[in-house]
Amino acid sequence: MDIAVLVKQTVDMDQIKLNDNNEPILDDLPLKMDILSKNAVEAAVQLKEKYTGKVTAFIFGTERSTSTMKEAYAMGVDDGTVIKGYQKSDPTVTASVLAEELKKSKFDIIILGDQSSDSYSGLLAGILSSELGLDVVTNAINIEIKDKIANVTVESENEDITVETKLPAIVSVAQEINEARLPKVMQIMAAGKKPINIVEGKPDYRDDSRILSDKAPESQRKKIIYEDGKGIDEVAKILKVVK
C-alpha cells in the first residue's frame, strides 16, 4: 500500500513570549513537528506495519524543515520530500502546493492531522480533496483497510460513526487515534543519514487579507485572588445568588 502523510512543522508555541505591547515575539523560536502531525505519522506507519507498503512524508516548509523530516524518518517514514516556500498559515496556498507534489505519484491513502495547533483551521483536508478529486473523512480515531476500501471511525459529539469510503481517499486524524511512538536512539541515528528530497514550491500567496493586530487577549476578568485561607466568605456570598 502506498501511504502519504502530510506533516506540519510549527514553532514551539509554548515558548512564545510577549513584548511590552503584548505582541508575540516570533524570532528564533525552536521548531517542532506539530502535535497532530505526530499522530498522523504514527497512523501512517501503523498502517504500513499492518498492511505492508511504503510511507512517504511531505512537509510544506522551509530549509529548516529537514529536522522535522528526520523525526518522521525515525518514527518509520520511508521517504520524504520537503517543499520549500512556506511563509504563513493559508490553507488554500498550502493545499495547492501539496496537491502539486502529491499528483506526481499514486497513493492509496493520504493522511494528515485534523487541525493544526496554531490556527485550528481544519480546512486543508477539504480543500485537498477537491484539488485531487478524492473522498475525504476527517477526525478519524480508527482506520481499517480491506480491498481498496477504508472503514474509518470518526469521532463526533455523542457517537463514534464508522463510514466506508473507497480508496484512494484523504483521512485526517484526531489525537485520540493513537499515541505517537518515541523513536529509539538507533532509529534516530539512522534517520539522520537518510536522504531528504528537497524541492522548490510555487506558493501563490496573495495580499488578500491584512493583519491589523496580533496581541495576547487581555483578560477582562476581575482577578480578585485570595490567599492564606481567606476568600471563602466572599466567594460564598457571590454564589448565594444561585440559590
Binding site: 483551521s121 483536508a125 473522498d135 493583519i211 476578568r221 482577578k223 485572588i225 444561585v242
Partner: protein, 292 residues
C-alpha cells in the same frame, strides 16, 4: 446584504443567526430543529442524511444561485470539511475560526492564533468564514422563518456502524452553573468529596481534558475546552484546573469564573474573576458549609 449560515448542529446555527441578526438578512441550512425558525432567519432549510459529497454539491449550487454576500459555516467536523471543499469549488477564500465579524466597506474579523496565545484581527474581502462554536448566547425573536425541506442526492459514503458514547444525559453547554474538575482532584473517588458543592449549587459537573479523556473520571461529553465543549454558564467554578490555554478557550463565555487551586502561579488565576489559593479538599467543604 444577505448571508447563508450553515451548521449540521442546530444549536450552533441558532447562535450564529443571533450574532448576525440586524447586520444582514440571513438564510440558514441545518438539520431538523423545532426552534430554529424562531431566531429571525428569513428562510430555514432542513436536510437529512447529509455527507460532505451531497451537502457540498447542494451548497455550491445554492450559494451560486442565491448570490449570498457572505457564507458562515459553523466549525464542526462536517462544517470544516465543507468549508474547505466549497472554498475551492466556489473560489471563495475562507477565513477560519472567527469569533468576531464587523463589516463596513472591508470586513474585519478576529480569531485566535498561535494556539490561542494571541488574537489576530484581520481585514479582508473574504466572503466565507468558519465560525467558532459559542460565538454568542442564542436568543429568539418574534419573527418566524419560512421553512423548506431539501432533498439531497444520495451520498457515496456509507455508514456501517454507529456506536453511542457513554454520555450522561445533560448538555453542559446549557448549564447555568458548572463545577469543573481537573487533574488536581487526584482520583475518581474524590468526586464524592466535591459532590456536596455540585448539589448545593444545583450545578452540572464538567472537567478538563485529562479528566474526561485520559482518566475517564467523567464521560467525554463533559470535557470543556478547545477540543471539548465551549460553555457559557453564569458561574464556572474550576477546581484543581491549571488553566492551560486550551482549557481557557472553552470557558471564555462564562459570566463569572471562580478558581480554586493550590498553586498561586497557576495560569487560571489570570483568567478568573475570583480565585482562592488553597487545597481544594479544605476549601470546598468550608465553602459548602458557608453556602448552607
Amino acid at each position: 446584504m444577505k448571508a447563508l449560515v450553515f451548521s449540521d448542529e442546530p444549536k450552533n446555527a441558532r447562535e450564529i443567526i443571533t450574532y448576525l441578526r440586524g447586520k444582514m438578512d440571513i438564510d440558514v441550512i441545518s438539520t431538523e430543529d423545532k426552534e430554529l425558525p424562531e431566531y429571525g432567519a428569513q428562510k430555514v432549510y432542513f436536510y437529512k442524511d447529509g455527507f460532505v459529497d451531497n451537502l457540498s454539491k447542494f451548497l455550491a449550487d445554492h450559494i451560486t444561485k442565491n448570490k449570498y454576500d457572505f457564507v458562515f459555516i459553523s466549525s464542526t467536523n462536517t462544517g470544516r470539511e465543507l468549508a474547505g471543499i466549497l472554498s475551492y469549488k466556489l473560489k471563495m477564500k475562507c477565513m477560519p475560526e472567527i469569533f468576531s465579524f464587523e463589516h463596513g466597506g472591508k470586513t474585519v474579523t478576529k480569531r485566535f492564533f498561535h494556539g490561542g496565545k494571541t488574537v489576530v484581527e484581520e481585514e479582508s474581502d473574504f466572503q466565507m468564514f468558519t465560525v467558532s462554536a459559542s460565538i454568542c448566547e442564542a436568543e429568539k425573536t418574534d419573527k418566524r422563518s419560512e421553512i423548506e425541506n431539501i432533498n439531497l442526492d444520495k451520498s457515496n459514503y456509507k455508514i456501517i456502524n454507529v456506536k453511542g458514547k457513554n454520555t450522561a444525559g445533560t448538555d453542559i453547554r446549557n448549564a447555568k452553573v458548572i463545577v469543573s474538575i481537573g487533574r488536581g482532584l487526584g482520583s475518581e473517588e474524590n468526586i464524592k468529596k466535591i459532590q456536596p458543592l455540585v448539589d448545593e449549587l444545583h450545578a452540572e459537573i464538567a472537567g478538563s481534558r485529562p479528566v474526561c479523556l485520559d482518566y475517564k473520571w467523567l464521560s467525554e461529553d463533559k470535557q470543556v475546552g478547545l477540543s471539548g465543549k465551549k460553555v457559557r454558564p453564569d458561574f464556572y467554578i474550576a477546581l484543581g484546573i491549571s488553566g492551560q490555554i486550551q482549557h481557557i478557550a472553552g470557558i471564555r463565555g462564562s459570566k463569572t469564573i471562580i478558581a480554586i487551586n493550590k498553586d498561586k502561579s497557576a495560569p487560571i488565576f489570570e483568567e478568573c474573576d475570583y480565585g482562592i489559593v488553597g487545597d481544594l479538599f479544605t476549601v470546598v467543604p468550608e465553602l459548602v458549609k458557608k453556602l448552607k
